[in-house]
């Protein structure tokens, strides 16, 4: 059994995943064992219907966070599946009208790989480039659209840089042309105030584990408007309007629902807390020369994600030197793949700059003291690694 020993770390990798809120974990436990609500929600007997009611309450909780109709939400296993269902299912639904699709070079692999699969089926995909801040220009987007474009997919908050795209403007462009608009909002839901009644979004992907819910559960929002639909990509049952068959994981769904409710009550506080932490970290490392923030430094950025390159430093070494501070690097960062981040390369960063990038991501439980420690550790590590490399020039 793997021993839990997380407390010896300073965890600044909340964009990778968040711990499950204690209230959520305790609530979920009531839906697992014989004493709890364990039955299959598709069953018509009383315990099954009790489970079905719990599922619908969770759907209402999530609908409240997004300001949508509960009926427009489909449970999935997470954002990857939601992205696949939206993109592949949406393209298949619209495929008779046209075969052209548009996305960005800086999307998550779950999106890019879904588009790659569609290309193998014969669809054409245009990958638009961001500006050096990571934002897509509306002129660039318009230029990529064609008469036969059927679907556009652009993420809300970038997982590496925290850049926030102008979803409303992009959505309006898509609506003018009756193009399905999908948003990967894995890094936005539960952190950024979203009102999908006001935003022109057709399909939106989310996952619970980014906002203190459990891993393995997510949802896809499908707007209730003519021409907006997806075809299933999994088959085997009638659950979730036949769009996503499979026995519903009630304990995970209720966990997502409660996590959504808790997030809805703290959105403004969360933003303020993230802003304080970001400014504190930046202030703590500002004396170091040769730093470069990757992303947008204006208001079009989620403050809980801060991506910084340190010139003359290699990312994997920096990550190890930062221990016990846990962060993510600008490369794939494992022993098998030290390729620089394709997201940072798309922003125009050279390999060395991209390789030196570190992503700090803060969360509900991050303290100013932890950020101060991380800033000091970062400064020490940069000075040390630059010292080791001194003499190579």
């Amino acid at each position: 059994m793997v021993k839990a020993a997380a407390n010896r770390f300073i965890y600044l990798d909340y964009a990778a995943t968040t711990p499950v809120d204690l209230q959520v974990a305790e609530f979920m436990a009531g839906f697992l064992t014989r004493e709890g609500v364990f039955a299959n929600p598709s069953s018509i007997h009383a315990p099954g219907q009790q489970a079905a009611r719990a599922v619908e309450i969770a759907r209402e909780q999530l609908a409240g966070l997004l300001n949508v109709r509960p009926a427009d939400l489909i449970w999935t296993s997470g954002a990857t599946e939601s992205d696949n269902l939206a993109i592949i299912g949406g393209a298949h639904y619209r495929g008779r009208r046209g075969k052209h699709l548009v996305t960005m070079k800086t999307e998550h692999k779950a999106v890019l790989d879904a588009f790659a699969a569609l290309q193998r089926e014969g669809f054409e995909v245009s990958y638009v480039a961001p500006n050096e801040s990571g934002l897509v220009s509306m002129d660039v987007l318009r230029a990529a659209l064609r008469e036969d474009t059927q679907l556009v997919s652009i993420m809300y908050v970038n997982n590496e840089t925290g850049v926030v795209q102008d979803i409303e403007a992009i959505g309006n462009i898509c609506r003018e042309r009756d193009i399905l608009f999908h948003v990967d909002a894995a890094q936005a839901v539960g952190k950024v105030a979203l009102d999908l009644q006001a935003l022109p979004v057709d399909l939106l992907s989310l996952t619970a584990h980014k906002f203190y819910g459990p891993k393995g559960i997510g949802a896809l929002y499908v707007a209730n408007r003519p021409g907006c639909q997806v075809e299933p990509i999994l088959f085997g049952g009638g659950q979730e309007r036949r769009l996503r068959p499979g026995t519903l994981p009630v304990h995970q769904i209720v966990g997502l629902g409660l996590a959504a409710e808790l997030a809805a009550s703290s959105l403004q506080d969360n933003w303020l807390h993230m802003s304080k932490l970001r400014h504190r970290l930046l202030a703590g490392i500002s004396q170091l020369p040769g730093l470069l923030v990757n992303g947008d430094e204006s208001e079009r950025s989620y403050p809980g994600i801060l991506n910084i390159s340190a010139l003359g430093v290699e990312g994997e070494s920096l990550m190890l030197a930062l221990a016990p501070v846990c962060v993510a690097s600008g490369s794939a960062c494992n022993a098998k793949n030290a390729e620089p981040s394709y997201v940072l390369r798309a922003l125009g960063r050279d390999d060395a700059t991209a390789q030196s990038a570190i992503r700090f991501s803060f969360g509900r439980y991050t303290t100013l003291a932890e950020v101060d420690f991380a800033a000091a550790r970062y400064c020490e590590a940069i000075v040390s690694l630059r010292s080791i490399a001194k003499g190579l020039e």
């Binding site: 290699e314 994997e316 070494s317 190890l320 993510a328 060395a352 490399a389 190579l392």
Partner: protein
């Protein structure tokens, strides 16, 4: 992010966190050096040494690269410092890969270190003035 306890063995962690051979040589005496680079944006290293004619009296390095690479350079310096010059020809660079459990995907970086070592041997074979 890889779990550091899994990704790096104790020897790597020790050499990486305390690279006492990183930096310049003590001033004075001829300086011998060997330099190598994995690729345009890849790992790079320079090995430096002093020699009294029979022994490697002091050895230092500068490096840019992953923890395995820095640890390997440090380990190599530790192993060769104070050794007879002949030890340079005996030194098995692959032993560094084994001892530091360098993943096979990073073999290129160990070979880069080997190139630097070869360049250092070539430098030592040339007459030097201070």
């Amino acid at each position: 992010m890889a779990d550091r306890d899994v990704a790096y063995n104790e020897r790597v962690l020790e050499c990486f966190s305390a690279p006492r051979h990183a930096g310049p040589l003590t001033p004075g005496g001829p300086v011998y050096s060997g330099r190598a680079q994995e690729s345009a944006a890849g790992a790079r290293v320079v090995l430096l040494c002093h020699s009294d004619g029979d022994h490697i009296s002091e050895m230092r390095f500068s490096a840019w690269g992953c923890p395995h690479f820095i640890a390997a350079a440090e380990w190599l310096c530790r192993e060769l410092e104070s050794q007879p010059l002949a030890q340079l020809n005996e030194f098995d660079i692959r032993s560094v890969q084994r001892l530091l459990a360098v993943p096979v995907e990073k073999t290129g970086r160990i070979l880069t270190l080997e190139d630097a070592l070869e360049a250092l041997k070539a430098s030592l074979s040339q007459p030097k003035t201070q």
